[in-house]
Symmetry: none
Subunit: 401 residues, 2 copies
C-alpha cells in the first residue's frame, strides 16, 4: 500500500516546523580494521547533544544492499517509494541541471557526435568536445521551431546537452537513436507505444533541423538522443503531507529533486552559513525545510577521509543556528552512505537522528554508525522517515478507530 494513501487521509495541520538536514553521503566506513568512520572520527558536539535528547537509527535508502543514486536516495527521504517512482535518465539529467520539468514534459539526453561523409557515425562523442566549444553549439539549436511544441535546449558538459519538449500529447517511451556503434548511421527515433508516437515525430523533426543547423560543424555535426523520459508523475508535499515545503540547496540536482515533489526552491545560498540565513528568512513561510549539504558526499567520492571528517564537522557546526529557531522536529540524515574507503555511493544504512519533544529517546549520547545500530529507531527504510517526522510533529492522526 502506498503510504501516501494513509498520509492524505490522516494528515493534520498545525503550526509545527520540521527541519530535515541531509548530509549527502553521510554514512561511512573505517579505513582500517577496528577504526572509526568519518562521522565517528569527526568532533560533533552539537550532533552528540541532539543524540542525547533524541533517538537514532539506521536508514536503509531503498532495500538492504542497494546503493542508490541521488534520485532514489532523496525520493526515499522525501517519503516516495524509490522503487515505484523511478526517474527516467532524461528527466534526471534535466533535473540535475536544475531544469524544473512540468507534468507532460519529455526530457532527452543528447550527445553531439561526428558523422562521416556517408552519414555514418565516426565518433559517438564528437571527440569529447570541450564544454566551452559545445555549449554555444547547443544553444544554437534553440533556433529549432516545431509548431505546437515548446522546446528547451540546455548545455550540460562536453558533448552532452539536454532537450525538453513541452506540449500536448507527449510521452517518453521512445527508443534511443544512438546505435552504440560507429560506422553505422544514427537510428531514427521510434515510439514504443501509441502514446509516444507524437514524441517520436517531434524528435525526428528536431533531428532533421539539427542536422541542417550543425552540418558545417567540424566535430559536432550531429547528435544522438537517449533516455527519453517524461517527468515522473509525483504528488506534491502539499497534497500528500499538507506541508508547505522549502528546499535550501546549493547544487542544481537537489533543487531539481525537491522541485519534483513540489517544494519551493528558496534562496540562492552557496555556503552552509548562507543556507542558515535563508532558513531564518523563510522560517515563517513554510512548515518543512529540506537543507542539503553536498560535501560529505563529494569528499567521500574523492576518497578523502580527512576532508570528509572536516566537512562533517562543518555540518555539525550549523546545528545551533537551526536549534535557535526552535524546530518541533529536527532530523539529521543522509540520502545514502559514501565511504571514503569505497570512493562511491554505497548500500550501507545511514545514521539518522530524530529529535522532538515526544520522540522516545534511546540511551545514546553520541551520533555515529556504531551507536545507530542500537538506536531506538532501529533499521528502517528511508521511505518511512517522513511518517515519523509527521507523527512527531503532531501532524498525523490515528489510523482507524
Amino acid at each position: 500500500m502506498d503510504m501516501h494513501t494513509l498520509t492524505r487521509d490522516l494528515m493534520a495541520k498545525n503550526q509545527s516546523k520540521i527541519v530535515m538536514l541531509v548530509g549527502d553521503g553521510l554514512g561511512g566506513l573505517p579505513m582500517t580494521p577496528g577504526g572509526k568512520t568519518e562521522l565517528e572520527t569527526a568532533s560533533t558536539p552539537n550532533l552528540d547533544a541532539l543524540a542525547t535528547k533524541g533517538v537514532q537509527g539506521l536508514s536503509i535508502p531503498v532495500k538492504p544492499g542497494i546503493a542508490p543514486g541521488s534520485g532514489p536516495g532523496h525520493l526515499g527521504l522525501f517519503g516516495y517509494d524509490p522503487l515505484r517512482y523511478q526517474i527516467g535518465r532524461g528527466a534526471l539529467e534535466a533535473t540535475g541541471i536544475g531544469f524544473q520539468m512540468q507534468p507532460g514534459d519529455v526530457a532527452i539526453r543528447c550527445n553531439f557526435c561526428t558523422l562521416d561523409a556517408q552519414g555514418n557515425i565516426a565518433d559517438r562523442r564528437a571527440g569529447r568536445i570541450p564544454t566551452e566549444e559545445s555549449a554555444p553549439i547547443a544553444i544554437s539549436l534553440r533556433a529549432i521551431k516545431i509548431p505546437g511544441i515548446e522546446i528547451f535546449v540546455e548545455p550540460v558538459k562536453e558533448h552532452r546537452f539536454v532537450v525538453v519538449f513541452r506540449g500536448e500529447g507527449l510521452s517518453g517511451d521512445v527508443k534511443d537513436t544512438d546505435p552504440q556503434a560507429t560506422g553505422v548511421p544514427p537510428l531514427d527515433p521510434v515510439a514504443e507505444n501509441p502514446a509516444s508516437q507524437k514524441t517520436a515525430e517531434v524528435a525526428k523533426e528536431f533531428l532533421r533541423q539539427a542536422r541542417e543547423l550543425l552540418k558545417d560543424q567540424p566535430k559536432a555535426n550531429f547528435h544522438t538522443m537517449r533516455g527519453f523520459a517524461s517527468r515522473p508523475d509525483m504528488p506534491s508535499y502539499l497534497e500528500v503531507y499538507g506541508l508547505r515545503a522549502a528546499a535550501i540547496a546549493v547544487y542544481p540536482m537537489y533543487k531539481g529533486l525537491a522541485s519534483l515533489v513540489g517544494m519551493d526552491i528558496v534562496g540562492d545560498a552557496t555556503t552552509l552559513d548562507e543556507q542558515m540565513q535563508v532558513l531564518r528568512d523563510n522560517w515563517d513561510k513554510y512548515d518543512f525545510f529540506f537543507i542539503h549539504f553536498k560535501y560529505t558526499d563529494s569528499t567521500g567520492e574523492d576518497g578523502n577521509f580527512a576532508e570528509k571528517v572536516a566537512r562533517t564537522e562543518q555540518l555539525d557546526a550549523c546545528i545551533p543556528a537551526i536549534n535557535a529557531l526552535g524546530p518541533d522536529v529536527l532530523i539529521v540524515t543522509g540520502d545514502h552512505s559514501t565511504p571514503a574507503y569505497l570512493k562511491s555511493h554505497s548500500w550501507h544504512p545511514v545514521p539518522t537522528l530524530l529529535v522532538s519533544d515526544c520522540c522516545r529517546p534511546d540511551p545514546h549520547t553520541s551520533f555515529g554508525e556504531t551507536t545507530a545500530i542500537t538506536g531506538g529507531l532501529g533499521q528502517f527504510e528511508a521511505q518511512y522517515l517522513m511518517l515519523l517526522a509527521l507523527s512527531n510533529a503532531g501532524r498525523l492522526g490515528k489510523f482507524g478507530a
Copy 2:
C-alpha cells in the same frame, strides 16, 4: 504476499498452548528528559523473569510513525495485515458494542436528530439526548419489519445507535444520509454501486418506518444513517492457523474484534483475576488464548502516569497464574503505545516479549522500552507476531523443501 497463504500451507497441529497477553497501550514515554517510561518505572518481577528466559523486541503496529486505533492495532497482533483489512465505521461501531457481525451483514451508525415542521434538520444530534432517554427510543425501532431482512437495533450512547441488516445480497457502499448541516432535510440513502442497491432500498424503507414511529418524539423525531459497512471479510483463526482460539476480554470492543477473526468469546470476567479463572476453566478446550487488559491504555489516555504504572504492576501480577498452566508459548505485548505524556494512542513501537522453550533468548533480564531496542526480536511489524507464536509452538512447518 498475504502471510495467511503461508500459514494455511504450513500449519501443523499439535497439543501446544499459546497465550497472548495484551496490555492495551502498553508502550509509553518518559515524562521528563532522561526519565523512565511507565513500564520501566513499574516494579514487574514476573515480566522481568520472563525477559530473562525469553526474548524481547519492539512491535510496530502498522508502519513506522503510524498510530493505530484499537481495530488495526489488534488486527496486526492477530496476524491480519491492518492496511488490507480495514474495518468500516459502522462495522467498528457494531463491533465496539460487542455485536457479533456475520459475513454479509451491513452495519450502520445512526444518530437521532430533530426535524423541524418543514422536515429540515434543526439539530443533528437531537440535543445530545441522554442515554437513558435515547436507549428506549432506539429499542422501539425494533418494531420495524422489512421482508427478507433480519434487523438489529442496538442503543449506544446519547444520540447514537447502531442498525445491522442481515439478509441476502447486501453490501455496504451506501452514502451517508446526514447532510452535515442544519436547515436542510436529511438525504436519501444512495447506493455507490449496483451491489449496494438493495441495501439502499432497505435503508430507505427503514427510514420510512422510523419516521412514522418517531414522529411524536419531542427531540428524537428522526435519525440519520452514516458509515454503512459490511463485515470485513476475514478468514478465521481456525482456517488460517488451525487454532481453536478463545478471547478473554472485559470490554465489548475487544470481544468484537476477536469475534471478527473467529475467536470464541469465553467467560464474562470483569477483572483480571476473573479472566485468569476463565483461562483455567477453558484451558483444555482451546489452543490459543487472547487475554485483553484495558487499563494500561485508559490510564495512559488520562495522562495518569502513576496510575498506568500501577496498572502495569497489576498486569505483571497475573503472570504466575498463566505460568501455572504451563503455556508452550507466552507472549506479552500491546496493540500500540499510549504514553501518559501524550494522553493518546501513539506510533511508538511496543515492547513485546516472547517465551518458549525454543525461543532464542537475548541477554536482557528486565522488560521495557529501552531493553527492547536491543532485544532479540528486533523491531518487527505486529502482523508477523503470530508467525513467531506458531513457530515457537511447533505449529508451522518448513517452507519449501
